[in-house]
């Protein structure tokens, strides 16, 4: 069984690591995030659910500073970071696992890991981080000299997670880590995410595979056309009728014979 006993008492566990305060993000005229509030506590796994085009990836891009909110503030570790450059955010411990993995396809696995550590100094710490990644993913170690574009989808996902870990993150933002992976492998990826979380890394994760995600998450938010329409602990979400219907694939069949 997975351990998803929520930290503390159903809310986020203690101090917030990341906070969205009435964030509004636009692409040109297109208003994507509308007055969005999130609170991600230190040490939590928080899952972001939502249909296509609801603004999940935009949320991740807003955290990384690739897209900037027009109104509202993003707080990280108690400080506003809305105007901070992406590289400063990475340096402060925010690392992404991007949608569709987005490895550097013509570079080796090892070079991809090195680039994950771009903001970190070389030396003992780098070697230690590399060993940690190789420990979590022995397969990545075997493939370290392979060109990343030639890896299988599952292997690429391992490298993508490993690359995020090389940044020594306190917060990892994952955009659909289970996308395109076989069920068995999805299970493995979620186990690893939980392991990483137990090592002290906070996880904010976009997922379509809601049942899996809720099985390891502490809390979740549901985004619908750019607005948070529901939030609560993973257990509350798993019990919620709307979630069951929309994301957990439990169709209520009216008047069906038992």
């Amino acid at each position: 069984m997975r351990d998803n006993s929520a930290l503390g008492n159903g809310g986020h566990g203690g101090a917030a690591l990341l906070e969205f305060q009435k964030v509004n993000t636009y692409y040109g005229d297109l208003h994507v995030l509308k007055d969005v509030d999130y609170v991600i506590g230190k040490g939590e796994i928080v899952c972001l659910l939502g249909g296509n085009a609801s603004g999940k990836s935009t949320t991740m891009k807003t955290i990384m500073g690739v897209v900037r909110p027009q109104r509202g503030e993003v707080m990280y570790d108690g400080e506003p970071i809305g105007k901070m450059s992406t590289n400063d955010r990475v340096r402060r411990g925010i690392a992404p696992v991007l949608e569709a993995r987005r490895l550097f396809p013509r570079m080796t696995v090892y070079e991809n890991l090195e680039l994950g550590a771009y903001t970190q100094p070389r030396g003992a710490q780098f070697d230690q981080d590399l060993e940690r990644v190789y420990g979590l993913f022995p397969r990545v170690k075997e493939r370290r000299d392979q060109i990343a574009g030639t890896l299988s989808g599952g292997e690429q996902q391992m490298v993508a997670i490993g690359r995020a870990l090389m940044a020594r993150p306190r917060l990892i933002c994952m955009d659909e880590p289970s996308m395109g992976l076989s069920p068995l492998f999805v299970e493995q990826v979620f186990d690893i995410i939980q392991t990483i979380n137990k090592q002290g890394v906070t996880i904010f994760m976009v997922e379509q595979n809601a049942s899996m995600a809720l099985s390891i998450a502490h809390r979740a938010y549901v985004l619908q056309t750019g607005q948070v329409v529901l939030s609560g602990t993973a257990a509350e979400m798993q019990a919620n009728e709307m979630i069951k219907q929309a994301y957990l694939g439990e169709m209520k069949v009216e008047g069906a014979a038992p």
Binding site: M64, V66, S85, T86, N87, R89, V90, R91, P96, L98, R102, L103, F104, P105, R106, M107, E111, E114, L115, G116, Y118, T119, R163, A167
Partner: protein, 309 residues
Amino acid sequence: MTAYDLALQQLINGFSLGSMYALLALGFTLVYGILELINFSHFNVFMVGSFVAFYVLEGFGVVGQNTIMTGLPLVGVLLAALAVTMLVTGGIGVGIERLLLRPLRAVKGPAAMILTIGVSYVLFNIVILGAGADSKNFPNPLPPIVFTFENAVLRMREILIWVISLLLMGGLTYFVGYTKLGKAMRATAQDPEAARMMGIDVDRVIMMAFFLGSALAGAGGMIFGLYYNYTSFIIGFSAGLRAFTAAVLGGIGNVPGAMLGGLLIGLIEAYSGAFIATAWTDVIIFSLLVLVLVFRPNGLLGRMAPNKS
């Protein structure tokens, strides 16, 4: 001179010309690889480089081909000319990027490319106004030592051209392949958005690409002067076009491709000029380009452009 001697001689000449085209092609490829921009100002950054080298060498008192130097002074003067030329053209490249192209970066369509054509003409006219429209006798302080193989001659200048090109291309290969900034440059060329989210300062990487490309073009301009004994405001267009062809031939965006393409174009120019007629050189070069692109649309070593996000 027998056909064999001539072939040998043109091999020597072709390698020199090819090194020059390769240095120039690298600038097209470095910038295109990251921004997918064909930078036409590069043509005349090369030409300006040739003039900078001209003035630095004259500044050291070298006039025409009759001021012979040897030993340490020779090495010092050549190194200084090369370094100043590369710094000046590198700086021009950075200026063009920083002041003119960066504000246009978010603008889609051909605006940026058109701008580079405009910049090219501005550089062209600045040189005409500043240095005059007459061609200049390019200073060359090398001693007239000549090695002969059969009847083919290898002069000091060829050796110098090869050494400069080899060092610069080796240095660039090392930089791109093995240094942190070089890897950041490759990552940016493959996926700019992902690179940014690794914490790479993409603006700095783009500036670096312009600096390196323009500095190499400057070195190419100095080589032009050393090879032909003259320079003129007009030299950017045909050399630039051939070098751009070289970059496409090798696979635009591809660093080894630009070097290979440059060498091929240089050799074709040398051989077609000697064995057919100079008038046919461009016909042959562009026919080859068409042929290669028909059978290998991405060039000999493959085109490399950023992934679209």
